[in-house]
């Protein structure tokens, strides 16, 4: 089971609305969160190696997220689940919904992105693993599966850590795990016939968590305009003047 979040495309330079009430998302290009696309690619490869029978993609949000689920189906997922929520949800609620889906679908792996590039929270996978009371392997850059155990290389500050976890488990993908495939036109046609189940969050009996309140939004502080130097000597003397050398 792979969680796909619909987010502002990573190439878009997001702007804060002038009244500070949020960020401008009208008419902006939306995509699958890049980490989630990588998670899906890895799930498809696991299936192609004969180590999984089915790949299910799921997403939570408004009806718009069905676009990203269709893209996931076109990439090769077998079926999709859309859980309709009123408005955006935060990680703990997302994890509670995913847990309900897990209880229904009994996947061997719940694959998420390590972070959504809109809220940059980096929480949902870890929270899901806690609620499910199963292992987590976050920031995965290599996954090998054998006899019910996943051996995962994780990108940590010190370098690459390897852990072994018993399945079922939660994995979250890092960027270097793989390069997602491109979707081909015939696959888009085929994806239209695949099943996409929609249900409301309330139907699942999920209790939403207390949310953090967003008080205001602002653009990041601007760095002061820089200065071009003409030569190495000038660079060195500027740095000496600033007391940096």
């Amino acid at each position: 089971m792979v969680a796909l979040k619909r987010v502002v495309d990573y190439n878009v330079r997001v702007r804060v609305k002038s009244d500070g009430s949020g960020v401008e998302t009208d008419g902006v290009k939306m995509s699958i969160n890049p980490f989630d696309e990588i998670a899906l690619e890895e799930a498809l490869r696991i299936k192609e190696r004969g180590q999984a029978e089915e790949v299910i993609v799921c997403s939570m949000g408004s009806a718009d997220v069905q676009q990203q689920l269709r893209t996931g189906l076109a990439m090769g997922a077998d079926r999709a689940i859309h859980v309709e929520t009123s408005g955006a949800i935060q990680p703990l609620t997302a994890a509670r919904i995913l847990l309900k889906l897990i209880e229904k679908e009994q996947p061997g792996i719940a694959f998420l992105g390590k972070q959504a590039i809109d809220d940059d929270c980096n929480q949902t996978g870890q929270m899901l693993a806690a609620l499910w009371d199963r292992p987590q392997a976050t920031f995965a850059s290599k996954v090998d599966i054998e006899n019910g155990t996943a051996t995962v290389k994780r990108e940590v500050d010190a370098g690459l850590e390897t852990i072994a976890i018993d399945l079922p488990a939660v994995l979250t993908s890092d960027l270097r795990l793989n390069e997602p495939r491109f979707v081909k036109l015939p696959d888009i046609m085929k994806a239209k016939r695949k099943s996409l189940d929609a249900m409301a969050m309330d139907e699942l009996g999920v209790e939403p968590a207390a949310e953090l309140e967003a008080v205001s939004f602002e653009p990041p502080p601007k760095r002061g305009g820089g200065k071009m130097v003409e030569s190495v000597d000038q660079l060195v003397s500027e740095l000496k003047n600033k007391g940096l050398l």
Binding site: V8, Y10, V14, R15, V16, V23, P91, L92, A95, I117, D120, C121, Q123, G125, Q126, M127, A129, A130, R134, P135, Q136, F139, S141, T151, R154, E155, V156, D157, A158, G159, L160, T162, A164, I165, D166, D174, L175, A209, A210, E211, L212, E213, A214, V215, F217, E218, P219, R223, G226, K227, M228, V229, E230, V232, L235, V236, L239, K242, L244, L245
Partner: protein, 312 residues
């Protein structure tokens, strides 16, 4: 009741400086009691170092053979078990804190505040979203603890000179056994640490090969600097992944940063926003890195670096 608990990050013998930075963030919250908890196979040395940090009230020292490697599945229930005594649970926003704290937060039934960059009051914080393109001020609702990671690049390390008491505690949970540490591979640890070095020299895709990257290491050595890299340089295999600077690499705040042969993609810039002075060297005068650099020099890095080394 207002009390803060900080989860110490360490390698078994030395307290990571990220903990002292987290402490500075904690002290900005206006809460008097700040405790630090150390989970380790043999916590004495690390607990002693934590006790010396100014502003710490107590150090909780929890020994367990299965704490040798910080596995989130093992530690999260321990954190949740002692969390009841605290209004705030904090960890650094390093891969250690990011892996562990959300798991503990879920056990406590609350959302986490990730990457606090500024403290407004004890429950209100600023944090970056959209790769730093926007800053949101969030307030944690009453009725549950504040569980948060601290963006270490935003806070200086707290000073030493403290003398907190150290209390020994027993582990509350047991090893679930389903998660096993195998190994960790890192660079040889030569030269200063990228996360905390005052000077960092980073190279990008322009270096072209790992052999060519030696020129970056050479300059860094001359400057006593740590070496960093763009994701493109890491992906191409010029340097190991732990040198990556940016949204998905390390967020750093050196006094002086050299971006050499790096174009300045937004995801890279996110990692260096808090640097004191940014120097960009790039042969393309239109490269976006020059828009944020304090000092820019247009030219071929393979000519400029040898000249620079000579001039130093």
């Amino acid at each position: 009741m207002s009390r803060i608990l900080i989860i110490a990050e360490h390698d078994g013998t030395t307290l990571n400086v990220a903990t002292a930075k987290t402490l500075t963030g904690a002290r900005a919250m206006g809460v008097d009691d700040i405790d630090v908890v150390v989970f380790a196979a043999d916590p004495a040395a690390v607990a002693g170092q934590a006790a010396e940090l100014a502003g710490v009230s107590r150090v909780l020292s929890v020994a367990g053979a299965d704490f040798e490697h910080p596995l989130a599945a093992r530690l999260a229930p321990e954190v949740a078990a002692i969390a009841g005594d605290y209004s705030h649970i904090l960890a650094p926003s390093t891969t250690f804190g990011k892996d562990l704290l959300p798991r503990a937060a879920a056990l406590m039934g609350v959302n986490q505040v990730s990457d606090i960059m500024e403290v407004i009051d004890a429950r209100t914080f600023k944090r970056p979203i959209y790769a730093g393109n926007a800053i949101v001020t969030v307030r944690v609702p009453e009725g549950g603890p504040v569980v948060a990671t601290i963006r270490t690049a935003s806070f200086a390390a707290s000073d030493g000179g403290g003398s907190a008491s150290v209390e020994e505690r027993q582990p509350q949970a047991s090893d679930p056994g389903h998660t096993r540490f195998v190994k960790v591979e890192g660079s040889d640890g030569e030269g200063p640490d990228l996360s905390s070095a005052p000077i960092v020299v980073s190279g990008g895709r322009a270096l072209g090969s790992s052999d060519n990257f030696a020129i970056i290491y050479g300059l860094a050595k001359k400057l006593g600097a740590a070496v960093g890299a763009s994701r493109a340089a890491v992906d191409a295999g010029y340097v190991p992944n732990e040198l990556q600077v940016g949204q998905t690499g390390k967020i750093i705040a050196p006094d002086l940063y050299f971006a050499i042969g790096i174009s300045g993609a937004i995801q890279h810039l996110t990692g260096i926003k808090d640097a004191g002075t940014i120097v960009a060297i790039n042969k393309d005068a239109e490269a976006p890195i020059f828009e944020i650099a304090d000092l820019g020099l247009v030219g071929d890095l393979f000519e400029i670096i040898p000249e620079l080394e000579k001039a130093l």
